[in-house]
Amino acid sequence: METLWFGIWGLLWAIYFSLDGYDLGLATLRPFIAKSDTDTRIINNTMAPFWDGNEVWLITAGGVTFAAFPTTYAVMFSTLYTPLLLILFGLIFRGVAFEFRSKHDSDAWRKTWDVLQFIGSFGPALLFGVAFANIFQGIPFDEENIFQGTLLTLLNPYGIAGGVLFVTMFLVTGALWLAVKSVGPLHDRAVSAASKIWVVWVLVAVVFLIFTWFATPLWQNYLVHPWLLFVPLLTVAALFATRYLIAKENWWGAWGAATATVFLTTAFGVIGLYPNLFPSSIDPGLSLTAFNSSSSIKTLKIMLIVVLLFVPLIIAYQGWVHFLFKEKITEKDLESDEAY
């Protein structure tokens, strides 16, 4: 039961990163790719019906951490206090930036929200990567569950490598989302950005994987159970499929492959982490695992029913929404009164 819940926990974070990844990435890329106010609005409107639903996966991932592994939830979020609050403030500004930007006709107003949207997207993308990389290598918390360090402790080379990897992954999926949803010069710039950043992605991924070998025990599980190596192999395959599909000009396919890469990258990390959820770098004996930090079996069973009933339903209706709003966004769409 605990192992199953560990899997669900990892699955939810992977879904969150796969979905919110593209809108975090695209909002980070936007200042560099939008040449006019119209471009900016088109970009924002490609994400309009989706960003909010995508972000709810974060609430669910957080909520499920609380429900299934309350001790991990408590220790993880209190030790990562400052980065987590920075992420949340970032997401606040970014969320309302979508909603507020075009509702008042003033350049200063729009500029302010554009800047906040960029910081609120880039910041969380980077910090999520930093946080997860640090979790992979272990967090310095003691037997009282108190964090022995500062924000700078987390900004170690491996942490930063994780942050850069996340930002790069999200940038490519974001650029590909724009390629799917736009036409004309903006579409071309999106494609060109995706192809260029894809090269960086490959380099960063190689560095990160090698670094992981030395900085973390993540590969251990794969050495013990070599059949699990299909996960990193699939990740690499998806990464290269992304490039192949870009070359084929199959934008939905390329976006799908890039998103799958994000999903599999998270899965690779989480599988390597098992059974740890939140390892301590001070004393491995203090590490929080799926077994020593989980809820009672009764609670896990109730939550299992809830998750099995609702998660497929959510995926179904969110899929329907992506289908409903599948058309490309053009200047004409901006005339609509509801447009951002």
Binding site: A48, P49, F50, D52, G53, E55, V56, I59, T60, G62, G63, V64, F66, A67, A68, P70, T71, Y73, A74, V75, M76, F77, S78, Y81, T82, L84, L85, L88, F89, L91, I92, F93, G95, V96, F98, E99, F100, K103, H104, E144, N145, I146, S295, S296, K298, T299, I302, M303, V306, V307, F310, V311, I314, Y317, Q318, V321, L324, F325, D337, E338
Partner: protein
């Protein structure tokens, strides 16, 4: 200041701010759904414009509610780690159920509603808003079940060094939770109704879109009347649950120091907590207090002096908050009845319209005070009678929490200014200007 107080202040800022937006989300979603249903049934375009105009305000308000809700969920972990660890088996699952059952439904279908006017049939479109209404009530239900468990914990056993769930059904169906849920959602419907009435009154005073705002007012006055009358009864039943399960809160609410049978109700009371008595107790109704609290003229009312000092909540804050909340709660049905009475002559009743404009903030004041009574009245417990607040907060450095509290105040002030600026702007623009693209081509083709 110590970490406990800073953490409490931070939670209070985050919750009270969040709750400026959430109840309007509840209330406006219902009203917009009703307006659009009338449109779908009658085909009268004016109701479509109505749904769009109020929906626009709804969406701005909704966005702030969502983003400030995320921080709340994570704060249990960041600032109340020992609490989360100790009761997470029960409390955490309720929060997770809220997210999976309600938040997705709410945020996905509000997007379909907002962007889907020309993509789906009118019936499906209005169904999306009804789904939002249902989802926001479900969300309220789960979070209030969780809160009620903190007020009246049950259905758990102490084992493995923490509270573990042993009767989910008892937690979910306890009367305390059901009444808290009704009390709070109905408060949201009152806020939404008085908001629509107040804004419509203002526009009528300025003689703008008289037909549009008269009709808006008439819809809201119906819901306003139904829910403000219902709230008096629900509030009373909820109060009796508090009386039954939270004697220290009850004693603070009524500022009762000495235990007494058949306790009188005093219209005017000035608490004097330092001397454990009241400065003033005037205009008394004999035995009435016992009757309100327990439905029995001779019931015993426990006084605060019967409880050790370390178990008592702060009296003055709880007492005044409660009194003002109740006074306002009595005022709302009166205002709504007047509205029903004047429904056909609204533009001529300028004094009444002004009152309704000035009354817009009052349901908010009442609701926020209600939360102060609920949460401060529960102190010194985080889970009533079971876990103390000082055993619950995260061990962080005071400077960390002081900085984050400052950041919360700054960020939320900016956010609040921006949101209300936009809401007021949208209102002043009015429905016509808010819907230029819609009104003209329709008129041209028909």
């Amino acid at each position: 200041m110590d970490v406990e107080l800073l953490s409490r202040l931070q939670f209070a800022v985050a919750t009270l701010f969040h709750f400026l937006f959430v109840p309007l989300t509840l209330g406006l979603s219902l009203l917009v759904a009703i307006m659009e249903t009338i449109y779908v049934r009658t085909g009268d375009e004016e109701y479509k414009r109505m749904a769009k105009f109020w929906g626009k305000i709804f969406v701005i308000n909704f966005a702030v509610g969502v983003v400030t809700g995320i921080t709340l969920e994570f704060q249990f972990g960041t600032n109340w780690a020992r609490y989360s660890q100790y009761v997470g088996d029960i409390f955490g699952s309720l929060l997770a159920i809220e997210a999976t059952t309600s938040f997705f439904l709410e945020s996905t279908f509000i997007a379909v509603w907002l962007f889907g006017w020309n993509k789906i049939s009118p019936k499906l479109h209005v169904a999306c808003m009804w789904l939002v209404v249902i989802a926001s009530s479900m969300s309220a239900f789960w979070i209030l079940v969780a809160n009620s468990w903190m007020q009246h914990p049950l259905g758990y056993v102490l084992q493995n060094g923490r509270a573990e769930l042993n009767d989910f059904w008892a937690v979910v169906t306890q009367p305390f939770a059901i009444l808290t849920f009704l009390h709070t959602t109905v408060a949201g419907y009152i806020i939404g109704s008085f908001f629509v009435m107040g804004v419509s009154a203002y526009m009528l005073l300025r003689n703008r879109d008289v037909s549009f705002f008269t009709k808006s007012f008439r819809i809201a006055v119906v819901t306003g009347l139904i829910f403000s009358v219902a709230e008096v009864g629900i509030g009373d039943l909820h109060g009796k649950q508090v009386a039954k399960h939270q004697p220290t809160k009850l004693a603070a609410i009524e500022s009762i120091w000495v235990t007494e049978r058949g306790a009188p109700f005093s219209m005017i009371v000035i608490p004097d907590a330092a001397n454990e008595r009241n400065h003033v107790e005037a205009i008394q109704i004999p035995k009435f207090m016992s009757w309100i609290a327990h439905g029995d003229w001779n019931a015993e009312m426990k006084g605060l002096k019967d409880f050790p000092k370390e178990d008592r909540p702060p009296v003055a804050l709880v007492f005044y908050s409660f009194r003002i909340m109740v006074a306002l709660g009595m005022l709302f049905p009166l205002l709504a009845i007047m509205g029903v009475y004047f429904r056909n002559t609204l533009p001529q009743r300028r004094w009444y319209l002004w009152i309704m404009v000035l009354a817009i903030p009052l349901p908010w004041v009442s609701t926020e005070l209600g939360w102060i009574v609920t949460e401060v009245g529960r102190q010194p417990w985080i889970v009533y009678g079971f876990m103390r607040t000082r055993e619950a907060y995260s061990i962080l450095h005071p400077s960390q929490v002081a900085i984050s509290l400052g950041a919360f105040i700054l960020v939320y002030s900016l956010l609040g200014f921006a949101a209300y600026f936009l809401i007021i702007k949208t209102i002043l623009k009015g429905p016509e200007a808010a819907l230029p693209g819609d009104a003209e081509p329709k008129g041209a083709t028909e």
